[in-house]
């Protein structure tokens, strides 16, 4: 897991370098192409009250916890 965190840190560091060095990556999905992604059925955790409850059910019965994913979130395509 520590390796995973370090890997993420290194990846973000290089992406930061790319961004500050003038490399520009153009968004490959334009706003007008996000109709499908904006559909409510595409949300991670469509109903927060129901999603939170299932996290609680599992947390009370399983040893693992964390990274369940917050209800809502989304793709920024509202």
């Amino acid at each position: 897991m520590k390796r995973l965190s370090v890997g993420l840190l290194i990846s973000l560091f290089f992406l930061s370098l790319m961004s500050v060095s003038g490399c520009s990556i153009k968004p490959w999905v334009k706003p007008y192409e996000r109709t499908n992604l904006a559909d409510p059925i595409m949300r991670f955790g469509r109903d927060p009250v129901a999603e939170t409850y299932m996290h609680h059910v599992y947390q009370a019965r399983e040893g693992a916890k964390g990274s369940e994913g917050g209800a809502g979130g989304g793709c920024g395509c509202n």
């Binding site: 897991m1 520590k2 995973l4 965190s5 993420l8 840190l9 973000l12 560091f13 992406l15 930061s16 961004s19 500050v20 990556i25 153009k26 968004p27 490959w28 999905v29 706003p31 192409e33 996000r34 499908n36 992604l37 559909d39 059925i41 595409m42 949300r43 991670f44 469509r46 109903d47 927060p48 009250v49 129901a50 939170t52 409850y53 299932m54 059910v57 599992y58 009370a60 019965r61 399983e62 040893g63 693992a64 916890k65 964390g66 990274s67 369940e68 994913g69 917050g70 809502g72 979130g73 989304g74 793709c75 920024g76 395509c77 509202n78």
Partner: protein
């Protein structure tokens, strides 16, 4: 312990700083506040001899185009007798109530959140504070969220004043990236690290050890569990959502977990959402979970106080569980209901089946006297989980 906390805080702070540098270098677009909605839910869990049900009410409202507040009331009414209670105590009824209050603040390109939760039982009080910051960037293709929470618990024991009050603290660090991969693909990656410290075991639960033999075999005896006072854990998850050509969504999740108690776990979930006509949405999912036991767990220790830490909590044993879930939602968008934009009614049912590898049904040796200790059958649970809720958007 403190070295561990400092190390994790430094790693988390480093990731957060690099993320913020990265974010600040892109042309960012304004984030949006969560949608205004209210939910009223009845929830029920029935399995392993225990029934837990109650309401949950969640209301969220934005104002001044910059703020959004939410509040949640949640209750668990617990009745029945789990296998642990059957072995060591009498049937009981208990209630847990939880109140949450949260607020999001939208400032140009950044969404910041603060919140507080209080959970109360007759022998357990927990307070949790959390903060988060999230931002859409890179042409709204990406969203990064960073969260931190601090929890403080006070634990007592019913009908045992000599136990006094114990304390525990919980720190959580979470970083999450949601990424648009294509016109039909969404991805989310979440990393979380937790540091728990203090009194971490259940004061009522006991471990089992060999106290001798009789005609049936080994005789079990019990003694209060002893846990380490620290636990650090890491969890990483990746999720995908794919929009199918005929308006339906296919989702997948994989999560990996490990902690300092030597529990290793992973799970996957595959889910499918299918709208039907104008008003109905059907959901179906399958989840599979597996974990290895904590290093200080045993179903039956060789003797009393044989090692520093001893537990017989089935949640710390080796087991697998599966969940099959189905659901249906009726949605309606009224044209002339004033401020109401949309309403829905949902019924979700999950069947959770847990098969324990090294947690035996000790009732057979202690109560029924049909087997010797350590020779009982493996324990399992089949539980029914129901969520029925009404939602309103305004």
């Amino acid at each position: 312990m403190y070295k561990n906390i400092i190390q994790r805080t430094v790693i988390f702070a480093s990731i957060a700083v690099v993320c913020l540098i990265w974010l600040s270098s892109f042309t960012v677009h304004a984030a949006v506040l969560p949608e205004d909605r209210a939910d009223v839910m009845y929830h029920s869990y029935d399995g392993g001899g225990v029934t837990i049900d109650g309401p949950s009410v969640l209301v969220r409202k934005s104002f001044l185009d910059k703020f959004s507040v939410s509040t949640n009331y949640y209750a668990d009414n617990i009745s029945g007798a789990s296998i642990d209670v059957e072995l060591l105590a009498s049937e009981y009824k208990e209630e847990r109530t939880e109140y949450s209050l949260g607020m999001e603040f939208l400032n140009n390109k950044t969404l910041m959140g603060l919140g507080y939760t209080n959970s109360t039982e007759n022998d357990y009080v927990a307070d949790t504070f959390y903060g988060s910051i999230s931002q859409d960037f890179f042409g709204d293709l990406s969203n990064v969220s960073i969260s931190y929470s601090y929890g403080s618990d006070e634990i007592s024991k019913t009908d045992d004043d000599a136990f006094g009050t114990e304390e525990a603290t919980h720190l959580k660090y979470i970083i999450s990236l949601t990424q648009i991969l294509s016109k039909n693909w969404l991805m989310n990656v979440t990393l979380q690290t937790d540091v728990d410290e203090g009194f971490l075991n259940n004061p009522y639960r006991k471990y089992s050890y060999i106290a001798g033999t009789d005609a049936l075999g080994i005789i079990r005896d019990f003694s209060p569990e002893i846990y380490p006072e620290t636990r650090t854990s890491d969890a990483a998850a990746i999720r995908f959502k794919y929009f199918l050509p005929y308006r339906a969504a296919l989702g997948f999740e994989y999560r990996k977990y490990s902690d300092s108690w030597e529990i290793d776990a992973w799970n996957f979930d595959i889910n499918y959402t299918h709208p039907w006509g104008e008003y109905l949405v059907f959901d179906v999912h399958y989840r599979w979970y597996s974990q290895s036991k904590a290093e200080f767990y045993s179903d039956l220790f060789t003797s009393k106080d044989v090692q520093n830490f001893m537990a017989r909590d089935k949640e710390l044993s080796t087991f697998k569980d599966t969940t099959i879930g189905v659901g249906v939602t009726f949605e309606y968008e009224p044209q002339s209901w004033g401020f109401v934009e949309k309403v829905s009614v949902s019924l979700l049912y999950d069947r959770l089946s847990i098969e324990y590898d090294d947690f035996l049904d000790a009732r057979e040796s202690v109560i029924a006297k049909t087997a010797g200790g350590g020779e009982e059958s493996q324990y399992s649970i089949d539980a029914d989980v129901v969520r029925f809720f009404f939602s309103m958007w305004y």
